[in-house]
Symmetry: D2
Subunit: 137 residues, 4 copies
């Protein structure tokens, strides 16, 4: 059930020490979650936000930074949902480069109604495709 | 021993839902850590990076996002070191607005030699001023 | 009629060469325009966007990058409106540090109705306070 | 001699009005220039910065913002060098989506020695491949 995408460390991502400035990892992570929803879950962010009026804000993150990434590195981002609740999804993610894990993340998203700004149950089509085998009762 | 600084939610920080896009919180956190080192610890990032050849990369983060922040919100960022090791510092940080906690962070920095790209002991002057009462044996 | 504000070059703004990465100047410029509207024009971005339903997108920019800015530099940003039309405002802006101009900008904003996504005349209270002496017939 | 690449408007790029926040265009432009140097000119930014000690800072920009871009838009970025001097290169760039030009840019890069922080002549291999037919005497 894991989703994988790749990205490249750009000049915009690195700091004065020549390594990825850590807030940029979260921009890359968010783009990978976009790819996951568009390609894996079948609901892209444009449709989700503009047509369906829902978003998936992050409510929890745990991040280990294991090794630095440098300008030009090709990174593989792997996202694996591990628990899906009524309106939430916990996932594991890793960024790796040259076969080495660079950062490891445990994240939790919730499904939010953008107009009401409160969490709502996942729509059935999304919930079923996030992780059919991980849905909690 | 806590350090406090304030910041404002800018147009650049908010997303299509009008609330702070979470990677921007880490840019704000890093700026607050800069203020802490410059004003509290007595060694600003320019001197630290350019003259002394050390940096303080983040190696661990745990973050709870409790409530959204909106365009124009004034935020108080509070950083409190809770444990200082030979070459690391664990801190608690909160962002609050209108007296309400918005995010809570446990972070860990290490002192890194920029040329060697490996962790080194804190210089004495920095270690003593990060948290004199929290220094581990 | 010029508006001035100050800012500091943060770790987040510099690139691998240790100087401000030019897209970050535009984030700083936008924050300065926010300050100008809040403090000089009397209508902050939160009220403008959320309550009044208007925005001020940039439609034209000319920028000369004269000298680099480094980590820790204190910058003065000066914005001077030079022509105000029915729904537009052309301004000159400079970023300077240590008395030296770093970048010079000619920019043009328009007043946009956010719902209709089209330009609209400046509201009278805003137009009058942007540059009373520069309003074109 | 024009170079083309494509990109997608990400959640990280849009503002509270749901359209691309203009500083993000310059991050996208810089990434396109990176692709151009890596794929078209034959010298990627990692090699250029880390091995050869040169960079290509922007010294001039003129930008017309013609139409907004929205979350999820696929954009084509086209870069065409129009004049190559001893140590500079002027180019035209456009961002387009759905066959419509969104922004038009005239930009000028210079070849900079990173250690000396001053402009230097283009290395021959780069100069010849930027635009063989546009090299000025």
């Amino acid at each position: 059930m894991a989703f994988e995408t790749t990205t490249q460390v750009r000049f915009a991502h690195v700091d004065a020490a020549g390594i990825v400035f850590y807030p940029r990892y979260f921009e890359l992570l968010n783009a990978a979650v976009e790819d996951w929803f568009a390609q894996g879950v079948g609901c892209n962010f444009r449709v989700m936000h503009l047509d369906r009026g829902i978003g998936v804000p992050t409510v929890h993150l745990e991040v280990e930074f294991l090794a630095p990434s440098m300008l030009g590195d090709d990174l593989v981002i792997r996202i694996e949902p591990v628990a899906v609740g009524r309106s939430s999804c916990t996932y594991h993610a890793t960024f790796s480069g040259n076969g080495e894990d660079r950062i490891r993340i445990v994240g939790k998203l919730v499904c939010m109604d953008l107009a009401e700004r409160k969490s709502v149950p996942w729509p059935d089509d999304i919930r079923e495709r996030i992780a059919p085998d991980k849905v909690c009762a």
